[in-house]
Symmetry: C2
Subunit: 192 residues, 2 copies
């Protein structure tokens, strides 16, 4: 609705996210205030808090989309798929979502890696992804222990493949790095 | 030294840890102040801050001991041990350390599970354990990717086995739950 749009400041959310990332990169996360982020985005502080609970959350607004995508892929995997096949399909879908965003992902990660509070929030989001995938596996009839383990393993693979992918020296694409990591995980857990 | 002991309040650290856990269980983590913890332990707030940086850290003072134990076990594993064997030895050593503390571990975990800030701090400590084990594996000559993956997998196994172990319905001991989880991880990552 046009009226709704003017009232709710269309794309304020996206502007706030970009403004926050730029300020965090320029001045550091700790030195940046919500007032400055709102100012750069051309909105009020109140608008900021309508979209985000705090200065950290603005960097993690993609987490719920990612979680939805992973859960949908696990849920929609073919009936005969093993738990490993279901989470592999989920990470493939995530990789496709990220593939075009290497530079933005790299910049965002540089901010997170510079701040322990942000690292804690990131770990919390990753733990949420693991819980959500485990739950989706249980709804497919996978028992509790294998559901938890394969979901945690998938998140470990995702995290490690992501770290390699944003390395400026990386030449492989994200989905290839995910496949390599799953292969390596299979090798190491077989005990060799 | 006797002089040093009176000055530095022998066992103030242990008293603060017990006082904090009791208060967190009775009143909740958020409602408890550092002044109350110090008061119950019979020390000043200044003494609290000589031992712990904040109210969260007092619940995690065992993390550096645990990390030291895991790293030592990885480092001291026989020269021919595979990465999986090295981290399995590390978790066995950790299980032996925890085995007698089920009730205390359960009480502490109840406090953590009730508070998102504490959950984030716990995830941060677990990530630290994974990094430290990965680093110890690299010093044994394990390549970067398998070192990271087996260390992350070991922490996932530890976390999941721990959750089962503190469940009042659990009948197995911690080391058995760790072995079961490693076996299950091997099964799920083989794709079956």
């Amino acid at each position: 609705m046009i009226v709704g749009m003017s009232r709710w400041e269309p794309n304020a959310r996206g502007r706030l996210e970009r403004a926050a990332l730029e300020l965090y990169l320029d001045r550091g996360f700790e030195q940046t205030t919500v007032a400055e982020i709102a100012g750069r985005a051309g909105v009020t502080e109140r608008t900021f808090f309508r979209h985000f609970t705090d200065k950290r959350e603005v960097l993690f607004s993609g987490a719920s989309d990612l979680q939805g995508l992973l859960v949908a892929a696990v849920t929609d995997a073919p009936a005969g798929a093993t738990p490993l096949e279901a989470v592999t399909a989920a990470l493939d879908a995530a990789a496709a979502m990220f593939e075009e965003r290497r530079e933005g992902s790299r910049r965002r990660q540089a901010v997170i890696n510079a701040n322990p509070e942000l690292q804690e929030r990131e770990l919390s989001k990753l733990a949420g992804l693991a819980s959500a995938m485990a739950e989706a596996l249980r709804r497919r009839g996978v028992a509790d222990l294998p559901a938890s383990l394969v979901a945690e393993a998938a998140v470990a693979v995702f995290k490690i493949a992501f770290e390699h992918w944003i390395d400026p020296a990386a030449r492989k694409d994200f989905s290839q790095l995910i496949r390599d990591s799953f292969d390596e995980l299979r090798t190491v857990t077989s005990g060799r």
